[in-house]
């Protein structure tokens, strides 16, 4: 592994760790200051203290501890089934002024809330300590990984910016040097993802015993969550090696340009000029790694990409882009002169 590049990676990871540590500290403060007022348990405790509430404790045959809070005067009823580590199942029934019927779903981490209104009655079902989809962690990790990838993505241009005399007078081939450099950056990007997942898992743990769902779509999210930032890194790496005198501009404009291309590639053209622009953008979008990543809820039927047979094709394309862009960067690196 290239020592200088590893130092760059290490310095960047230190910054990532510091920022994430600040977030964890903020989460601790949040936990200490507000969590007891925000948790379902706190809400139930608050309800138990209401005037006229009858409190009943039961133990069901499967060991579940049931708490029933009944307040006839307020027409509210709360049933809390405590399954221990498996979480709590809370059903709240209360009157409402609204007369229409609908259902809302809210997922916050491991807490799932389903609120149903039928006539003048609202039923809220809260399930705590559900498994958090790994997908959520990977989305957060991807944001950090993409930022890290963007910052690291000019290793050869940085060497060409006044350090080739050091880089190219080592007793190793240029290809080996390049592979060592890319290897250090790849480790850094993956490490940034892992650190982010760990940090957010710690935040989750502050509030509950978090369980993570690695099944199905979530496993695929891990694969895509690693492949996409690496392909993005390789693309910028190739671009900055070929345009090494202005690598800062390449890195700085990469995001706006890619977003612009993405937007132009999905607009519906209304005239010939717009159609031409759309077609050009669509073609350009094929060589941008983000084109093969889509974000949506795992419950959604229409997006999250990591679905079905399409996933293998998209992941293969991300890996192909990483290899092709990496090869382009190394090819150019071999031809750089001091």
């Amino acid at each position: 592994m290239n020592y200088v590049e590893w130092l760059r990676v290490r310095n960047l990871l230190k910054i990532v760790v510091i920022i994430l540590a600040i977030l964890v500290v903020l989460a601790v403060v949040l936990r200490i200051s507000f969590a007891r007022y925000m948790s379902p348990e706190a809400w139930v405790a608050h309800a138990a203290m209401q005037h006229g509430t009858h409190e009943t404790h039961l133990t069901l045959s499967d060991g579940t501890k049931r708490l029933i809070l009944d307040n006839p005067s307020e027409r509210t009823r709360i049933v809390v089934d405590d399954h221990g580590y498996a979480g709590r199942h809370i059903v709240i029934t209360e009157p409402t002024s609204s007369s229409h019927s609908d259902t809302d779903h809210v997922n916050v981490g491991s807490i799932q809330v389903v609120e149903s209104r039928h006539g003048t009655i609202t039923t809220t079902v809260i399930d705590t300590n559900g498994a958090v989809p790994m997908l959520y962690y990977m989305l957060l990790a991807d944001i950090v990984a993409l930022i890290v990838a963007t910052i690291l993505a000019a290793p050869f241009a940085r060497e060409a910016d006044g350090h080739l005399e050091i880089a190219l007078t080592k007793p190793i081939s240029r290809i080996r040097f390049a592979l060592g450099t890319i290897g250090a950056d790849v480790v850094g990007i993956i490490a940034a993802s892992i650190i982010t997942v760990v940090a957010f898992y710690l935040c989750q743990l502050l509030f509950e015993s978090a369980r993570v769902d690695f099944s199905g779509i979530n496993t695929r999210a891990i694969a895509m969550g690693i492949a996409a930032p690496l392909a993005w890194y390789a693309m910028l790496c190739a671009a900055t090696t070929w345009l090494h005198r202005s690598y800062g501009a390449v890195l700085g404009f990469a995001w706006p340009v890619v977003i612009l291309i993405a937007v132009l590639s999905i607009i519906n053209p209304t005239n010939v000029v717009a159609l031409f622009i759309h077609d050009v953008a669509w073609v350009l979008a094929r060589i941008i790694p983000f084109s093969y990543v889509q974000f949506a809820s795992p419950d959604s039927h229409n997006a999250l990409i990591y679905q079905g047979g399409d996933f293998a094709r998209r992941l293969s394309l991300e890996i192909l882009l990483f290899v092709v862009y990496g090869a382009l960067a190394i090819w150019k690196w071999q031809r750089l002169e001091a």
Partner: protein, 304 residues
């Protein structure tokens, strides 16, 4: 002991030739000085030697073999400008070099850094130009390399440290290693180098042992009573490498028979005639300065 052979080296930047058919044999176990005015092609020659620049044509052989990456274990290079990483500490540079080269001696590097009064914990961005040069010198001389290619290795150093670097170079040659260096400070080259080559406009214009070059060349200077005088064909003598004429003074660079030519000059009417030894600076300046050429003097004499 490594011999470096450069044959017919050519390298251009755009349409401008930086090195133009340069050939040279650099002997091993010696200090070799490469001299030349700015833009002569010294740095480009070094870069081509080290594979940092790709020559258009020509060949560079180390003990008869072309450069290969593994050979950098034996070659140390100090570029003319700092190529250190500003954001890294001196200590990290030592560690970087230790990881890259098996023969590197970190203890020796720290010893040299201490000699140059450089704090190993400081970041390079906090170092002066001279201190950066000193760091590069320390890293190169702790490499135990067989070949040291040093491009202006004393740039920015104070006189005490310049002298120290020269001593290091001589010491390396005494150990049987080859030191090839360039410098604009000809006094340093004269002090350290056994062999020199002078480049100008990408071409080799002079080379040899410093002592031989100095012994072979003399200046014969004559002062005439007025500005109208003739040299009676002296400038056409094959031993007169160059003749410069300014008002009543004529200076002849001769490669032999200095006393005889001085006598001829006196016979031609010169009042005061002196035979002067050359130092390396004179040799260099005569080699590269666009002087009144011998042909000009002859032509002027003919026309007068």
């Amino acid at each position: 002991m490594s011999t470096i052979t450069i044959s017919n080296l050519r390298k251009s930047y755009g349409r401008i030739p930086a090195v133009d058919g340069f050939s040279l044999e650099i002997p091993g176990a010696s200090v070799f000085g490469l001299l030349g005015p700015n833009g002569a092609g010294k740095t480009t020659t070094f870069k081509c030697m080290l594979g940092l620049a790709r020559p258009a044509s020509g060949e560079i052989l180390y003990d008869g073999k072309p450069l290969a990456p593994a050979m950098f274990e034996r070659i140390a290079y100090i570029p003319e400008r700092s190529v250190l990483y500003d954001w890294m500490t001196v200590e990290e540079h030592v560690e970087m070099t230790r990881r890259a080269f098996r023969s590197f001696d970190p203890a020796r590097a720290f010893e040299l850094l201490a000699t140059f009064n450089i704090d190993r914990r400081r970041r390079v961005r906090a170092l002066s130009k001279g201190m950066r040069t000193a760091v590069m010198v320390a890293l190169a001389f702790a490499r135990n390399a067989e070949i040291l290619v040093l491009d202006e290795p004393t740039g920015g150093l104070d006189p005490v440290n310049q002298r120290h670097v020269l001593s290091l170079m001589i010491n390396e040659a005494a150990k049987g290693n080859s030191v090839i260096f360039s410098s604009h400070q000809i006094g340093q080259v004269e002090r350290a180098a056994e062999h020199i080559a002078v480049m100008d406009r990408g071409q080799l214009i002079l080379q040899g042992l410093v002592d031989d070059l100095k012994a072979d060349r003399k200046i014969v200077e004559g002062i005439f009573p007025d500005i109208t005088f003739t040299l009676d064909g002296i400038a056409n003598d094959a031993r007169v490498a160059r003749a410069d004429r300014t008002e009543r003074v004529v200076r002849l660079l001769v490669t032999g028979g200095a006393d005889e030519i001085a006598e001829r000059l006196a016979n031609a009417g010169a009042m005061g005639v002196r035979v002067l030894d050359l130092n390396l600076e004179d040799i260099f300046l005569y080699a590269v300065s666009p002087a009144t050429s011998t042909a000009d003097v002859v032509a002027k004499e003919t026309s007068s």
